[in-house]
């Protein structure tokens, strides 16, 4: 089972080899409410860690999604562009946003683990 890490911006990151799949956490989708639009990055776009590279909009507001680590966008989830509510229904699974070929796969270990993310949620 592949390892899942988190960011303080409420994204989850799953690493498979050198490819990281990125989504928003259940906390994030709940806080946003009904998601009605998703804007995903261009394939091949090179992103720096913490760079805004996707937008998730609920009926209430637009929210940036940041690159959790540096890398190149290799895949986007077309299903959520057609059906943005999928991000609400299955944020940690079918509602993933994009995949990055990481510039440095070891940087993955610098992200929050489940326990650290749970601690962060406990302080909100």
């Amino acid at each position: 089972m592949s390892d899942v890490r988190f960011t303080k911006d409420h994204e989850w990151v799953r690493l498979d080899g050198t490819v990281a799949t990125v989504g928003i956490t259940d906390y994030a989708q709940q806080a946003l409410g009904d998601i009605v639009f998703v804007e995903l990055p261009e394939i091949s776009r090179k992103v720096q860690e913490s760079e805004a590279c996707a937008v998730v909009e609920s009926v209430k507001a637009a929210s940036d999604v940041f690159a959790p680590l540096s890398g190149e966008v290799v895949e986007c989830n077309a299903a959520i562009v057609e059906d943005p509510a999928l991000v609400n229904r299955d944020p940690a699974g079918e509602g993933w946003l994009f995949r990055l070929e990481l510039a440095d796969a070891t940087a993955f270990n610098s992200l929050l683990d489940r326990a650290a993310y749970d601690t962060l949620l406990g302080t909100i």
């Binding site: 409410g33 009904d34 009605v36 639009f37 009926v59 209430k60 637009a62 562009v81």
Partner: protein
């Protein structure tokens, strides 16, 4: 926690405990802790209102009574025919500044020997001060901070109200009455802010929760928060004060010229009349319009409106997803020569130019009970 201290400073409505029991997400709005949504979410609440009936707490709004011969005096500050307003009828009007700018939009109802008003929460203190300063001494303004205001909106609202009062259910659109609902005398109007048939019900604060619980126990009724209230009113093409209209906008620009009474347009005897008359004669510099985006991306307030040659021709003042239509819609101001239905324009969002076109409002037809 900073968040808690902010919330502690907020005023609460008489339904605060009920909202929290229902699992509402509370947000600060105009100095009040208000429910933005309940667990079912904005989309479900919005669609429930369009199909069945939704209950909104709008107790943050300002309720006040004007005692004395107020209709004639009020005409100095609003452009509507107040003297012709029949007993037990209500009118939507605008409180105007001497500049012709809009100080507030409000409902005024004629209860025979008095006028009752409902004004925006964010404006009530300023409105009351302005009215007291400008109305003659024989008119007395009394705010009703001891009352709640419930809005029951949707095609089945009348069926629900009819179980408590046949008289209330028979009121036509924009009629008002004092009726007893579940043992409490309420001030009820057949009106709302959703485009649907419905009622706004003023109830003494200490009876508000009982009445709200009564409505919520009916199978047709679900609670709805400010999120759905905003998306419903946008679909209905109704202005939000502070976003679509404010003191920097006059009624002609806001496409609210219909509010100016015929007699008032002959006499031009209200605050800002000279400016408004000139705008009507010469044409305004900008006009409020509805826009529909071609794609799925949303345009939010503040987004620039561009002509096809990319020149800036206006700005979005309200925008979001229209749950009843499944597409993004917006309201904004454009140069009048571009305000014709069907005109293609571009909306600048995150550095992109989203194609949109002018469409007639309301976006979703009104279904008032006339």
């Amino acid at each position: 926690m900073p968040h808690d201290s902010v919330e502690n400073a907020l005023k609460t409505t008489p339904l605060d405990a009920l909202h929290r029991r229902l699992g509402a997400r509370m947000v600060p709005f105009a100095g009040y802790a208000m429910p933005v949504q309940y667990p079912s979410g904005v989309l479900a609440e919005h669609l429930h209102c369009r199909s069945y009936a939704a209950l909104f707490d709008v107790s943050h709004m300002g309720q006040a009574t004007l005692y004395g011969p107020a209709a004639e005096a009020l005409e100095r500050l609003v452009p509507s025919n107040m003297q012709e307003l029949k007993t037990f009828r209500q009118r939507y009007t605008l409180l105007l500044a001497e500049s012709g700018g809009i100080l507030d939009d409000l409902m005024v109802a004629n209860y025979g020997d008095r006028l009752r008003m409902v004004v925006n929460a964010s404006r009530k203190a300023d409105d009351y001060a302005y009215l007291r300063a400008h109305l003659p001494d024989n008119i007395r303004l009394e705010p009703h901070e001891d009352r709640a205001l419930l809005a029951l909106q949707g095609p089945l609202a009348a069926a629900v109200v009819g179980r408590l009062s046949a008289e209330a259910a028979a009121l036509p659109f924009m009629a008002v009455a004092e009726v007893s609902l579940a043992g409490t005398v309420c001030w009820i109007s057949r009106s709302g802010y959703t485009g649907e048939d419905g009622f706004e019900i003023s109830v003494p604060a200490f009876k508000a929760e009982t009445l709200a619980e009564h409505f919520l126990a009916e199978t047709e009724v679900a609670p709805a928060g400010l999120g759905a209230r905003d998306s419903l009113r946008l679909e209905a093409g109704l202005c939000l004060y502070g976003s679509d209209i404010d003191e920097g906008v006059n009624p002609i620009e806001a496409d609210l010229a219909w509010i100016i009474g015929k007699r008032r347009k002959a006499a031009w005897d209200f605050a800002g009349a000279a400016t408004i008359r000139a705008q009507l004669d010469d044409g305004p510099a900008r006009l409020r319009v509805g826009l529909r985006l071609d794609g799925r991306a949303l345009a939010r307030p503040g987004a620039e409106i561009l002509a096809l040659d990319s020149s800036v021709v206006g700005e979005i003042t309200s925008g979001g997803f229209a749950p009843s239509l499944g597409v993004p819609i917006a309201m904004g101001y454009v140069r009048p020569d571009l305000a014709t239905d069907g005109t293609p324009l571009l909306l600048s969002v995150r550095g992109r130019q989203l194609p949109a076109r002018i469409v007639p409002m309301p976006f979703v037809p009104h279904r008032y009970f006339r």
